[in-house]
């Protein structure tokens, strides 16, 4: 785990508020993601998880507060600016370009990169990581199974050479057997030095691999602690980790 007292955060929220029309979504949210750590954001439906991700990526602009990337305020910078500097997302439900081939999906992940050799090398790396993806390179990605699509979605994000990977509900829509594999995959990527910011409903699973976590409730951060402490927290156990949920 990174020493948080000395390192600068890679990506940070400072008192972020967002509105959708008149509706106040995020309320004074502070977050900090440090290089190389694995953190998760927990919260129920409509708690502002998706908005958090969209704001980190620049698809939503905060009404007040700052989004900081490498110490630079990037509130008015477009998504491409942030992608170029190493912020990438694996979207909820994977959202592959279904009519494009698997290979084209992977290549689009590297859209902003110009180092051809590096792109080839990373493609090879992804083929090694997912031999099944390699077998289906020229297939339309819409024809793949859910698990395979997840591999392509992760591969596509890795092609951007991320320093921080945002994952929106990575276990959503996956068969239970695949959820475990998926979390192992996330750990594997993390071990290669990529920081991971994971938004999950599956709190038990997420906290079991994360270093730290936040709990978001109606747009406000209500808990901010280490993963172990969160797992032990009785309030959280009641609301998210209880038997009622999955």
């Amino acid at each position: 785990m990174t020493d948080q007292t000395t390192a600068t955060p890679l990506l940070e929220f400072r008192g972020v508020n967002t509105h959708y029309g008149a509706v106040h979504i995020l309320k004074d949210v502070d977050l900090a993601i440090y290089p190389g750590e694995l953190v998760c954001l927990l919260g129920g439906n409509a708690s502002g998880k998706s908005t958090t991700l969209k704001t980190l990526l620049g698809m939503v602009t905060p009404t007040t507060g700052e989004v900081v990337l490498d110490g630079e305020v990037v509130n008015d910078k477009p998504t491409s600016y942030r992608v170029e500097r190493g912020v990438t997302m694996v979207p909820e439900n994977r959202r592959l370009f279904k009519r494009l081939s698997v290979k084209e999906n992977l290549q689009l992940g590297a859209y902003l990169r110009t180092d051809k050799d590096g792109i080839e090398r990373d493609l090879e790396r992804i083929y090694e990581m997912f031999p099944r993806v390699k077998e289906r390179l020229n297939q339309k990605s819409g024809t793949l199974s859910g698990g395979e699509q997840q591999m392509v979605a992760v591969g596509r994000a890795l092609m951007a050479k991320p320093r921080v990977l945002l994952m929106d509900e990575p276990s959503m829509g996956l068969a239970p057997a695949l959820v475990q594999t998926n979390f192992e995959l996330i750990q594997q990527i993390h071990e290669e030095g990529v920081a991971i910011f994971m938004v999950e409903q599956n709190a038990n699973m997420a906290l079991s691999i994360a270093d730290r976590g936040w709990v978001l409730q109606t747009g406000r951060v209500v808990l901010d602690d280490s993963a172990d402490a969160l797992l032990a927290n009785p309030d959280l156990r009641a609301s998210y980790l209880g038997d009622g949920k999955r």
Binding site: S80, V83, R99, Q107, L108
Partner: protein, 370 residues
């Protein structure tokens, strides 16, 4: 999907009757045609079409060739409709006007070249030149149109840009009247060599038509390469499928949309020149009918599908050229050559009745098109 469970409604019955009626007409017409080819004076012909003469092989060949060359132009225009629909999900009805602008530009440029004496002496270079100028002007027209009229409407319901496109269409037509007057204007005559026929194998083709088909094929090939083989093309397809995720890849969605309009405009510019070369007369309303036909072609081929746009163009062009004499004439319909447009749109209806997504269309589910 409750396709099977849905009870048949009155509309379903109407469509069924329409389908049966259309296929009967086609079937009966073809039957009468075959009889007429065997013996122009057969019993059936005596009953319904007693001045039947049948078609000679040469005539038939001529119909096909004219259909294909006409269809190639429809296809080129159809690409613009299809591409914009693919990326933005609305029909840009002003696209026919972009084609007209291309044809007008070609008319002005070629007449200037004629005055300068280059048209006759160096036709090929002149042709390349007018294509280039027309492509530039059409591309600019399409790009300005997107910037001024459609971009401010991005995100509004699809009906709004659609209505806007009809407005732009009138606007461009009227600008043309103001600048160039309402009369029809002529392209200069082509050098004699081009209006003569060329024999390829067993086919005898007027060289102009050959030129049209070759130029259309080259333009199509270039477009295919752009869309399927380049990074920009990949981005275009990505934007067409999911703008949000495309921007997540770092793709500048606005720039890709502009590129789409530009490429569609360029194709329409090429088509405009080909139209001018073939029919040699342009007027401010020239864009209307070919525009609507090309739109139909795009729908016939499966809107959003580029190969389909070209195939739809060829299908429609061939159908409107061949069907009047192959199906309607043997049925004793008078003045069939006036019925090209009716035939073209009937072909559209027929295709939609049988395959609502068009020949090569994919089902657009809610999942695909959020």
């Amino acid at each position: 999907m409750r396709h099977k469970a849905a009870p048949r409604t009155g509309v379903d019955w109407f469509l069924l009757v329409l389908k049966v009626a259309m296929f009967s007409v086609i079937g009966f017409g073809l039957f009468a045609f075959v009889l007429q080819q065997i013996d122009p004076n057969n019993w059936l012909a005596q009953q319904i079409n007693d001045d039947a003469t049948g078609l000679t092989a040469d005539q038939f060949e001529g119909l096909i060739i004219s259909g294909v060359s006409q269809g190639a132009m429809y296809g080129l225009i159809a690409l613009g409709y299809s591409m914009v629909y693919g990326v933005l999900g609305f029909i840009n009805f002003a696209h026919g006007e972009v084609f007209m602008v291309g044809a007008m530009t070609g008319m002005i440029t070629s007449n200037k070249l004629l005055e300068a004496g280059a048209w006759e002496s160096n036709f090929i270079a002149s042709l390349l030149f007018i294509v280039m100028v027309a492509v530039v002007v059409s591309t600019l027209t399409a790009v300005v149109m997107e910037r001024v009229a459609y971009r401010p409407l991005r995100g509004s319901p699809r009906l709004i840009p659609l209505i806007t496109s009809i407005g732009i269409s009138f606007f461009i037509q009227n600008v043309s009247v103001v600048l160039l007057g309402p009369g029809a204007k002529a392209y200069p005559d082509l050098p004699d060599w081009w209006t003569e026929t060329q024999t390829i194998g067993f086919l005898e083709v007027q060289r102009t038509r050959l030129l049209v088909v070759v130029v259309a094929a080259v333009a199509m090939g270039a477009l295919w390469y752009l869309v399927e083989r380049t990074k920009t093309g990949k981005a275009m397809r990505a934007v067409a499928e999911d703008k949000e995720i495309a921007s997540l890849m770092g793709i500048n969605v606005n720039r890709i949309i502009v590129t789409t309009f530009a490429v569609g405009g360029a194709m329409a510019g090429v088509a405009g020149i080909l139209w001018g070369i073939m029919f040699r007369s342009v007027v401010h309303t020239t864009g209307f009918l070919p525009g609507i036909k090309a739109f139909s072609a795009a729908v016939v081929g499966g809107i959003g599908n580029l190969g389909g746009a070209m195939a739809g163009g060829l299908t429609l062009g061939t159908a409107e050229s061949v069907a009047p004499l192959l199906i309607l004439e043997p049925l004793g319909v008078r003045g069939v050559s006036q019925l090209r447009d009716a035939v073209a749109f009937s072909a559209l209806i027929l295709v939609l009745l049988v395959k609502p997504t068009g020949l090569f269309g994919e089902r657009l589910s809610a999942d695909d098109r959020a």
